[in-house]
Amino acid sequence: MTTPLLSVRDLEIAFRSDGTDIPVVRDLSFDLAHGETLGIVGESGCGKSITALSLLGLVPSPPGRVTKGQILFEGEDLVGAREQRLNQVRGNDISMVFQEPMTSLNPVYTIGEQIAETARVHFGLSKAKAWKRAVEMLSLVGIPSPDQRAYDYPHQLSGGMRQRVMIAIALVCEPKILIADEPTTALDVTVQAQIFDLFQDLKRQIGAAIILITHDIGVVAQMTDRVMVMYAGRKIEEGPVAQFVRDPRHPYTSGLVSCIPRLMMPPSDEVEDLFEIPGVVPAPRDLNRPGCPFSPRCNRVMPRCRDENPALEVRADGRKVACWLETEVAA
């Protein structure tokens, strides 16, 4: 078996508070293959974003830090790697697109300069060549008349255009992995659709693997190959996207899939109430209680769930689920 592009093993990330380490991500393992799109789904506070940051060595420290585990990028462990090496990886191999495009761009430089600078540092290009490359990138991400727009400052662009610029900066070094953390949350639906079309095109052209972090089940279904569901810092389910949508196994996953209203054409005559997941995600410091962290909100909770936390089991079909319901069925 070939080594996966990225392999995360038993990752634990903790935040220090009042002198104790409080884990916000625990026992997290997953792989990412070349050219694959992996979706990470969960409510806010489930550890999605901090996991993404850890892949780039960007966990805010202090107070946060990777306390256990490995992040193997092409076999090389990035946990504990030197800052210099991480800088290389961030520039060359893994790049990230954030949620809010306005705050991620430097307002005092033109967008052309910002892309060219990245290209110049990365490929050691001359200024003129780097500028040419910047214009090419702008055209690649679908910005009209790129040779003129390259002279624009970020505030002169609409939200969708800015996000395209962010993607251009992220892609200029031809990374092997693109991490997108809720890249379209701040954008309109039609613009979101444009950005996702762009992702699909770029994936075909450049062949990068994508990690897409989102809370939108529709986006996941449309964009990803494989989905990983996180709850309270743990992976609780993982599998191919079609099964995630059509046959979710974990009660949290099925809750997420059925709690959103679906657009229907033609619409139903009667509107039923949506499925509700009661309560909220527990705070990390409340996670030391025994039992499954989802049990207080679960509609299929059993006595056992309150005492023991189920481990992630690999099913016969390769899907992974951390729920006692699965083991009960298997047994």
Partner: protein, 290 residues
């Protein structure tokens, strides 16, 4: 989380949160301690240490530690310690009064300008700019000379020249907060402008205003010292600044005559700065999250 726990959590107001944060800042708590000590000494001191501050009690220019007047005497043979204790009252009174005037004018002007915007804002900001470009010390001196150097006039003079930055800060805060949804929500339930300005927006703009108000006391004390040093002080009362001004000609013969009041001013202003710093940290939500 509240769904899981059975007992309701205790209410924690934003002010309580800030106080908790403030208490963790040792420098600020130290500053608060020093300031309280200075206030207590100034208020109660004259009743305990009853040496008259303005009478000749001993030989002039006696160095500290050589007589029963532990800090020595000045060029008129007045007890320095008694002067400091009594001068603290005057200095603090002027400091607080001037800061109060600064804050009252600054907040009123800033609040109206920021809340109403448009022409009101334009007019008030021109007025603010007018006061801003006046040379502060000169203008204050003119006011004091015109109306006579009593404590109230001195406080007013200091207040009049130093309210502009408070007004600008208040205006900025009001402009930011008036756009927030909870202000719109208050409107939608029938709140009038008076309520919006004083009861809704002002409390939410308070944190930075409290910080600058605290610092304004320090600035006012320094300003008063400056005026007194130049001879513009109430002839019927002695402040620390006045003591420095009076003893200045004899600085080579009796350096203690300017050193001790200078030290008092330094300590007071330092304490106020530490408190201001602590308040700033306590109100800053970014630091609070850590």
């Amino acid at each position: 989380m509240t769904d899981v726990t059975t007992t309701a959590p205790k209410p924690v107001s934003p002010s309580m949160q800030a106080w908790r944060m403030f208490r963790q800042n040792h420098a600020a708590v130290l500053g608060l301690g020093i300031l309280i000590a200075i206030i207590v000494i100034s208020l109660l001191g004259p009743y305990i240490y009853t040496v008259p501050p303005r009478d000749m009690v001993w030989m002039p220019l006696t160095p500290p530690g050589t007589s029963e007047y532990v800090l020595g005497t000045d060029y008129l043979g007045r007890d320095l310690l008694a002067g400091l204790i009594n001068g603290g009252r005057v200095t603090l009174a002027v400091g607080f009064a001037a800061a109060l005037i600064t804050v009252a004018i600054g907040i009123s002007v800033g609040a109206l300008a920021g809340f109403f915007g448009g022409r009101v804002d334009n007019f008030l900001m021109r007025v603010t700019e007018f006061f801003q470009v006046l040379p502060n010390l000169l203008f204050a001196m003119v006011v004091v000379m015109l109306f006579g150097p009593d404590l109230l006039n001195i406080s007013i003079a200091i207040g009049i020249v130093s309210w502009t930055s408070t007004a600008r800060l208040t205006r900025g805060e009001f402009m930011r907060i008036r756009e927030m949804d909870f202000v719109k929500a208050e409107r939608s339930i029938g709140a009038g402008n008076t309520r919006l300005i004083w009861r809704v927006i002002l409390p939410n703009a308070a944190p930075p205003l409290i910080v600058v108000s605290a610092l304004a006391i320090g600035t006012a004390i320094l300003f008063e010292a400056g005026l007194s040093f130049l001879g513009l002080s109430d002839p019927n009362s002695t402040s620390w600044g006045r003591m420095i001004g009076d003893n200045r000609p004899y600085i080579l013969d009796s350096p203690w005559g300017v050193t001790f009041p200078g030290l008092c001013i330094f300590l007071t202003v330092l304490a106020i700065s530490l408190i201001g710093d602590g308040l700033n940290d306590a109100f800053n939500p970014k630091l609070r999250e850590r």
